[in-house]
C-alpha cells in the first residue's frame, strides 16, 4: 500500500500502528516516562491497576515499536530502566493532549452519561 495511506483501510500500516497505540496502558506508560526514566517495579507501583503481566507485555510492545528503550544496569540485584526514545518523545506530546482532554472534559462526559442513562 502506497502513501498517502488510507487509515480506514484494513491492513493499512498506519492503522496497525494506531491499533497498538490506542491502548490505555500504553498511553499511561508513555505518559509516565515523559518526565524521567522509570524502573519496572516503579511503573508497576505508579500505574495503579496494571498487572505485572500486562505491564511486561506493554513494555515489550512499546520497545519493539521503538518508542522506548530498555537499559540494564549491572547492579545487584539488576536494575532495568525504561526511557522514551526520540520516537517516543515525538509521540508523547500527542499523548499529553489526549490525556489533557480527558481531564478537561471529563465532567461534560460524566454529565452526558448521566443524562443518557436517565433518558434511556
Amino acid at each position: 500500500m502506497a502513501p498517502p495511506y488510507n487509515i480506514y483501510e484494513d491492513q493499512c500500516p498506519a492503522r496497525q500502528v494506531l491499533d497498538r497505540l490506542a491502548d490505555k496502558w500504553a498511553l499511561l506508560v508513555l505518559d509516565r516516562l515523559q518526565k524521567e526514566p522509570v524502573r519496572f517495579n516503579q511503573l508497576h507501583r505508579d500505574i495503579k491497576g496494571i498487572s505485572q503481566k500486562v505491564l511486561s507485555q506493554t513494555l515489550k510492545k512499546l520497545e519493539r515499536d521503538g518508542l522506548l528503550s530498555r537499559c540494564v544496569f549491572a547492579t545487584v540485584p539488576v536494575t532495568v530502566e525504561y526511557a522514551l526514545t526520540d520516537l517516543g518523545q515525538s509521540l508523547v506530546q500527542t499523548v499529553n493532549t489526549f490525556a489533557h482532554w480527558a481531564e478537561l472534559h471529563m465532567d461534560a462526559v460524566l454529565l452526558a452519561q448521566a443524562r443518557y442513562d436517565g433518558t434511556v
Copy 2:
C-alpha cells in the same frame, strides 16, 4: 476524588474517560465523522474491518459519552445520521494529531519492529 485528578490512579474519572477513548474503533469513527454526518451503513462500509456489532456498540458508547448525536429521519426506510457534538468536535483535533502521528512515523515504527525482531 477531587481535582487535580491523578490519571495514574485507578478509578480516576479521567482514566475512565481515557479507557473509553483509547479504542481503535472509537478513534476511527470520530475521525470519519469530522467532515460530515454519516449514516450507519456508510460507516460500516468506510471503516474496513469493523463488524456491525462492534460498530453499533461503539456508536452507543460515543453517544452515551456525549461525543456524537444520533439523528433519525422519518424516511422510508428510516435514515439515521451520526454527527459530532460540540464535545466531540473538541476532541477530534486531538484524534487528528494522533492519527497523523501514526501516518507520519509509521515507517520508523515498522523499521524498529524489523530491527527488534531480527535482533531478538
